[in-house]
């Protein structure tokens, strides 16, 4: 059967903001005249909260709080039951992107325990003999830019055995001195994270230096909450015994979908952190943690 249903948004990058018009076309291509019982479109924005396995026990009682939160929902009938001529048919559509009630359209975010997702779905109902056709496509929502100006707040750091916490045997640690800075801890999500790092000296050769981007997702309400930190990505910035005294750039692009401006609501929170992980040749692991605030300007 050579019938295909497709959804095409006008914007190539599929990014929309609150208040904008979501426009595009439904494309139906069929070799013969196509009989159908109506074509409808629905748009939906949902926040899905999932509970990590370790906290499921606690949360079973609060079942309500993990019910998906609907941010936007609308439905229209594009074409009434009838026929579509043979060949390619394009039906344009438009949706105003407006939040439901007094809710805010959060930015699209794909996480582990928190998912904010916007979808557009097209359904073509057909007679009993033929299967119904449907097509779903995700589109991205970017939250409105922040009004206030972002202050660059550079962070300097120095890592030595003495600055470390959480060390079992401080005496067995080799000596090292690593200095560096991050250009800002409040980062614009579209700009990469920048900084520099200098290995001033190190008794033991360095095996690798990595940047670990971590999301911290908190789900909960007044009754209690679960806070989980998971890795988004790990980027190596140095491999092997790097030259001492030479600055190594810290550079990381924030991945799309997996990051969003730092978000805090009554039901859930999404925050980000970056870890600088230094692996020594004797497999000592030194981690320095920096909380980040992501914003969109």
């Amino acid at each position: 059967m050579s019938v295909s249903l497709d959804l095409r948004l006008k914007r190539a990058n599929k990014v929309y903001h609150e208040g904008e018009l979501l426009s595009g076309v439904v494309v139906i291509s069929s070799r013969d005249v196509l009989q159908h019982q109506g074509i409808s479109l629905s748009m939906e924005g949902l926040v899905n909260l999932q509970l990590s396995s370790k906290s499921v026990g606690v949360f079973e009682a609060f079942y309500n709080s993990v019910k998906p939160i609907q941010l936007v929902s609308s439905n229209i009938e594009v074409v009434k039951a009838g026929k579509v001529p043979a060949g390619k048919t394009e039906i344009p559509f438009e949706f105003p992107l407006q939040a439901k009630g007094n809710r805010v359209l959060y930015e699209t975010y794909h996480g582990v325990f928190v998912n904010i997702q916007y979808t557009l779905r097209c359904d073509m109902r057909r007679s009993l003999l033929a299967k119904d056709l449907s097509k779903t496509c995700e589109f991205m929502v970017h939250s409105q830019p922040q009004k206030s100006k972002v202050q660059p707040n550079p962070v300097d750091f120095t890592i030595t055995p003495d600055t470390l916490q959480n060390v079992r045997e401080r005496t067995s640690l080799p000596k090292f001195l690593i200095r560096g800075h991050l250009d800002a801890s409040t980062c614009v999500i579209t700009q990469p994270l920048n900084g520099e790092l200098v290995v001033e000296n190190s008794e033991v050769a360095i095996k690798s230096i990595e940047l670990q981007l971590v999301r911290v997702e908190t789900c909960g309400c007044a009754e209690g909450y679960a806070r989980d930190a998971t890795e988004i990505q790990n980027i190596q910035i140095a491999e092997g015994d790097v030259c001492h005294g030479l600055s190594i750039p810290i550079y990381m692009v924030f991945p799309r979908l997996f990051t969003c401006p730092t978000l805090e609501t009554t039901n859930f929170k999404v925050e980000f952190e970056v870890n600088i992980v230094i692996v020594l040749h004797d497999d000592h692991l030194i981690t320095e943690n920096f909380p980040l605030k992501l914003v969109r300007v």
Binding site: P192, A238, P255
Partner: protein, 963 residues
Amino acid sequence: MASVQWHSRCRKYEYEKQMRRLEASAVDISDYHPLKAITVTDSKSRRSARKGSTSSTSSSSSSVAPDPLSSLLDGTDPLSLFAAASVIPTIPHSISAGELGMKRKDKEEEVGSDFEPWSCKRGEILSRFTTTEKLSINLFVGSDKSQASSPSSAVSEKVRTRLEELDDLEEGSQRELLNLSQQDYVNRIEELNQSLKEAWGTDQKVKALKIVIQCSKLLSDTSVIQFYPSKFVLITDILDTFGGLVYDRIWSMCAEPHPLPESFSADDVNDTAKETCLNWFFKIASIRELISRLYVEAALLKCNRFLTKAGIQETLQRLTAMIRGIGDPLVAVYARAYLCRVGMEVAPHLKDSLNKNFFDLLASFRQIHGDSVQNQLALQRVEIPVYLTLYSPAIHWILQCVAYRAPEVLLTEMMERCKKLGNNALLLNSIMWAFRAEFVATRATDFIGMIKDCDEAGFPKHLLFASLGRSLSCADPPESERLSVLNEAWKVITKVRSPRDYMSCAEIWVEFTCRHFTKREVNTVLADIIKHMTPDRAFEDAYPQLESVIKKILTYFQDFSVLFSMEKFLPFLDMFQKDSVRVEVCKCIMEVFIKHQQEPTRDPVILNALLHICKTMHDSVNALTLDDEKRALALLINGFIRMVSFGRDFEQQLSFCVEARATFCNLEPVIVHLIHTVNQLAMETNRVMKGSHSRKTAAFVRACAAYSFITIPSLTSIFSRLNLYLLSGQVTLANQCLSQADAFLKAAVGILPEVPRSISIEGKQRSSEPFLLDFINNFLSTLLVVPDHPEQGVLYLVRGLLNMVQDYTWEDNSDAKVRVYISALPLLAAMSQENYLYTIPKVDSNETLYGGDPKFIAELNKLCETLIGQVLDHLKGLGRDDGVRRQGGLAFSLFGCLLAHGDVRNNKLNQLAANLWNLSHKHGFCDARTSVRTLEHIKLQAQQSEMTHLSDLTTRLSLQSRA
């Protein structure tokens, strides 16, 4: 048919000659001539001229035919105009501005042809950095399981000694291929390249990216370090493929309405293409490993053009800084080389990042001597000098990019920076490689100083001197420093122990020496090379280098008297003891000699040396030598012989030929050439003596004849022998050596029966008949002047020849024999004349010997009659069925012969002629046009007073009707 009586027609050659001479008619110059330019007379101007106007009309009265090109250009083409303009000291403003603009454009032009492209280096690196150790590939290619069953990998399946599926990660598996030989490794990489293209072609972009990431990951692995440069080359090939694929894909996405212009900007790119491009970059940005991310991003550098204007520059800077994160200095330097390479390709005008790369390299240079490197080397048992040479290609490349069209100041700064690093040999070497030769040459003394200061333990010094030598052979150091440079350099080179290293260095410095110094210095250098290469027969491993030394000397010393006066040149040649190489070298020398020797020489040094060289070439010929090879050698030796001349000292020349014959006896063309030389010598003597030999010269000429006579039989080619016998016979006859001439001609007749029926010409079997007929005709015409031998009978040689012809086994169904008979008739007719057509000065031919004796004439006539009888018999034999066509032809030629040479006043001959005419027309195979023209000719002849008798013959000759 009854026997015919032959009477030769009496000829008056002088008269006939006058009659036949073309009428000299005065040629009117104004006549039409096809080669003359068409002239068109301008009617307008003529009119004005007729009016008697005073204006000068001469310029336009006749002009060349209107040529659209010349009329447009007005006589001078723009090039010569331009040249003319540049001669004028005051150049008009417009031109100078244009020139300036052109120059500026030239400067900005990206990469010129003087930039040695990567493709050249590529092969060099692959062939230089090899290993016999076992390699391994550690791959994690997603969803690659299906590939295992594909036929392409089935072969390597066998090779693989272990395939481990360590982890089932996500959708693919990690596998490690161990114990691969170098070739297997290369094949595997090539397979990956193929599967990359395949994946791309089948729209599996993610798989393609995964392959590329895995491949670039291999570059972080420095086990089997000697192979690293080659590995780099192989893997960057894949990266290049990938970069090209992505770029083309995005490019084609933009081509939708109309293709992008070559110089597009980011604004011309549509959103979909931008989004795709952005997607690629986001994907790459999340690659975990530093090295993979770096390489893949560098591979896609060009794609930044689709996004922003400054993208390429920013990315280059960022990647340059990123390389600092690579700890292993070797991996880092190659990453820099790749970045420079991509940078040069995509944005050659961005010099900053190139320089930054180089300075970063300097900053991290101490890493090379760091502990982790030392440990690794100890583990892999690689020595420091070997390890350091691994850096060369990458540093060369980086420096080449940096130095390309860089201002002098920058180069000086670079050099200073290197000096600060304590004259690091590795860097110094690369500087000499990459910087302009002129730059290095002007500072040659400085460089020598720096090389001397270098640390002994690290980079091998001979390599440094080799690099310096390479620069100096392209550019000249200041004149005053040359000798000291050579002395200093050679002092070090001569101390190099290993013959291989020594030779690679000496080979380069020979050029410098040849270029700037005399034979004395070159001789010293040669002596030193001999001294180094002779022990343990070290020269056996260095033939290519030694050969190149010879070639270099030959390009600079083309005067062979100088060349051979170097004492060590021939001893040097003696080092080539492998036959094939030796001959090759000899051929080179001879080629140069033939090309550059302008005048014949008699210099004994040259002759001895070249004779020796030619003998070497000649002696290499054996049963297995190819014909082409033999021909080439013979050509060279002939070229040499041609250049030998002892001037008036003919005897010396002859004795040289004798010696040469003894030396080159295996090469037939040389022998033939020698015989020609000797014959020429005899004729030269004759010319000098103005035809009358003294006793001494007569003896010499006879000696020449003797030379030829005993040399000719050694030839295998029968026609060479025949022709040379004839030619030598003619030469001796010209020199009044009658008995010798007789001997030559007799010998020629004697070997006639040996001529085979078919001979091979250029590998094909051909009938020898046409060649034989040619030869016999030539021979017959010589016989006219050969006087009869007093002790032999009349016409001894003619009879001998005809007897041979009679006995020769001709091809079946061939008229050749009869044709010979017919062509002998004119000879006999010519012999019976009172005065011969031609004679040889100072040789009495039969005309004087017999003085037209009737007995002699009768003898001739009898012979003619016999011949005609034979021909007629043959004609009769042809009368049957298929022979008639040939019969007609033969009859006609006999008719022609009769008419021209026979006295047709004689009735019988007249009758015979008429019969032959009729016979030739009987079957209608006669060419009508020839017949008509023959008849017209006879009629014309008949108008002459003595030929009136021909007119009644014409009445009897009837033309065949065109039925």
